[in-house]
């Protein structure tokens, strides 16, 4: 490998199984999911406005 690696210590008592993630790691993962959901919500909002302009619905 081109890079020196410092992999995770699997015996770390802070790790919770079966995921093997620490609380901080799972919080970070959760943050990515929440951020992703916000992005999708924002994108879908714009898409709905545009679709409404193209083919208005609701009479």
């Amino acid at each position: 490998m081109a890079h020196e690696t410092q992999t995770a210590d699997l015996d770390d008592p802070d790790r919770i199984w079966p995921t093997g993630l620490t609380i901080k790691e799972s919080e970070e993962l959760h943050k990515h999911i929440i951020d992703g959901t916000r992005v999708f919500f924002f994108i879908s909002l714009i898409a709905h406005v545009l679709v409404y302009a193209f083919t208005p619905w609701g009479g």
Partner: protein, 481 residues
């Protein structure tokens, strides 16, 4: 009968790995299947390139009736993000997070940008073109949403490619970089060719619903390809998140440090000049065939195929040469040298009506451009300081993408300006040839500048490494000195 069967099996066994392209790249830590999976992000980038520059360019002008100037502005928007590739590369080099990833968060965010842009793009284009009830919609809505869509898709592709190439550099040893680059470029070409055919067939019977289906399928394909590409690729290093003994450098500090490397600026100038020299021909070859040589549309389309074939052969050839240990800058210079007769043949085709010369020239331009691009990217990967791989590849990408975009914009402008102001020149064979030939001559001049600029880099490599047969990291070379 049984012995024949055994002989056949042993023959296939002995042939297999030898003739598999890039099979010799694999190591026990990094099997070929994993490398192929990683290179899938290049397919999504290739698909994005074709959709933006090729398919939508045509569909917006021909089928949707959007003014060509507006289309030109929309297509050039992703270029605005190109210079930020260096910043993205630096941020991924210094990224610290609990999960211990450096490249994956960027590939994921880039993928979200691409997906988001594609998700709103078809509706934005339909509103921009005033289709359906959109003719009563405020005009700013179409412009701003289309601009946002193009910007998001372009930015996403730039982020994904920068972080993806940096990840490939991290995962592979320096001696494999030429083959990795070859593989990445071949996958980019495959992505471009396959998606061009699919988009062409899917949009042959154009209607608004079909446009929505095609672009949103591209969005889903991007998401799937990039996710599969990055899945379980980067080793998690949670310990990197611990507070460093000294603070991470800022972008300015990193950039200053990066530029202090010997010949760093020269290397970027070489990439810029060479890319612009080859890139200016990209959009002019087909119109040159049609307008100056009087070819039919089918014949000019063949030119693109020939150009792509030249590129494919060039990538494989460059992989072979560099894999054997040839000096990357020497190979880049050869690529630029091939461009000289190639453009000369194209220029000569106009006054003498030599179609064959034009075809050969077209193939050679693709061939030379591929060798040049492959060699400069390989050199960038191999020269990247250990902790600045992202920054080095980002700088390469920023210069390359900006030079290609500026080259394309300049070529069209110069052709039109020269044709407008020059008198009809019968000796050039056709009215309108002067503009094209001015651009091709300018490309030859740029190639000569590139060739001259490369000389000190080759000399430096020879001084450092008398055998100049092995690729090694400059940091290691400098440490030895």
């Amino acid at each position: 009968m049984k012995s024949i069967r055994h002989q056949m099996i042993s023959m296939w066994n002995s042939l297999g790995p030898r003739y598999w392209p890039f099979a010799d790249l694999a190591t026990p830590d990094l099997p070929l299947s994993r490398l192929i999976r990683l290179s899938l992000f290049q397919i999504s980038v290739g698909m994005t390139l074709v959709l933006l520059v090729g398919t939508l360019n045509r569909v917006m002008i021909v089928e949707m009736g959007v003014p060509a100037a507006v289309v030109g502005i929309m297509i050039s928007l992703p270029l605005l993000f190109a210079p930020f590739r260096a910043l993205i590369g630096h941020r991924s080099d210094t990224h610290r997070c609990e999960l211990g990833w450096r490249r994956v968060p960027f590939i994921w965010k880039g993928t979200l940008c691409q997906f988001g842009g594609y998700a709103i793009m078809p509706m934005a284009l339909l509103v921009l073109a005033g289709k359906g009830h959109a003719d009563t919609a405020p005009i700013w809505l179409g412009y701003s949403s289309a601009a946002l869509a193009f910007l998001l898709v372009g930015a996403g592709a730039h982020i994904v490619q920068t972080a993806g190439l940096a990840l490939a550099t991290d995962l592979t040893p320096p001696e494999s970089h030429p083959k990795v680059v070859g593989m990445m470029y071949v996958m980019l070409l495959v992505g471009m060719m396959v998606s061009a055919v699919i988009f062409g067939i899917a949009l042959s019977d154009f209607n608004p619903l079909r446009l929505v289906q095609v672009i949103q399928s591209a969005a889903l394909a991007c998401l799937v390809l990039n996710t599969v590409a990055m899945w379980k690729q980067e080793t998690r290093q949670p310990l990197r998140n611990r507070a460093p003994s000294q603070p991470d450098p800022t972008f300015l500090e990193s950039w200053t440090q990066f530029c202090k490397g010997q010949h760093t600026v020269r290397r970027l100038v070489v990439v810029g000049c060479g890319t612009m020299a080859f890139g200016m021909a990209d959009v002019l070859l087909e119109p040159f065939g049609g307008q100056v040589l009087g070819w039919e549309v089918a014949a000019t389309t063949m030119l693109t195929a020939l150009f792509a074939l030249g590129g494919l052969v060039g990538f494989v050839f460059a992989s072979h040469l560099l894999g054997r240990g040839s000096n990357a800058y020497s190979t880049a210079q050869h690529g630029a040298l091939i461009g000289l007769p190639a453009f000369a043949l194209v220029i000569l085709a106009a006054p003498f009506g030599l179609s064959e010369a034009f075809l050969v020239g077209n193939f050679l331009i693709g061939f030379g451009a591929a060798i040049f691009a492959h060699s400069t990217l390989t050199a960038t990967m191999s020269h990247a300081p250990k902790e600045q791989a992202g920054l080095a590849l980002g700088a390469w990408g920023a210069v390359q993408a900006t030079a290609a975009g500026v080259g394309i914009a300049l070529s069209g402008t110069i052709r039109d300006l020269v044709n407008t102001f020059s008198p009809e020149q019968a000796w050039l064979g056709s009215i309108g040839a002067t503009g094209y030939i001015t651009v091709y001559t300018l490309e030859i001049v740029l190639l000569l500048v590139t060739i001259a600029a490369v000389f000190p880099l080759i000399r430096k490599r020879r001084d450092n490494n008398p055998s100049h047969l092995t690729l090694s990291r400059p940091a290691e070379e400098e440490a030895v000195q």
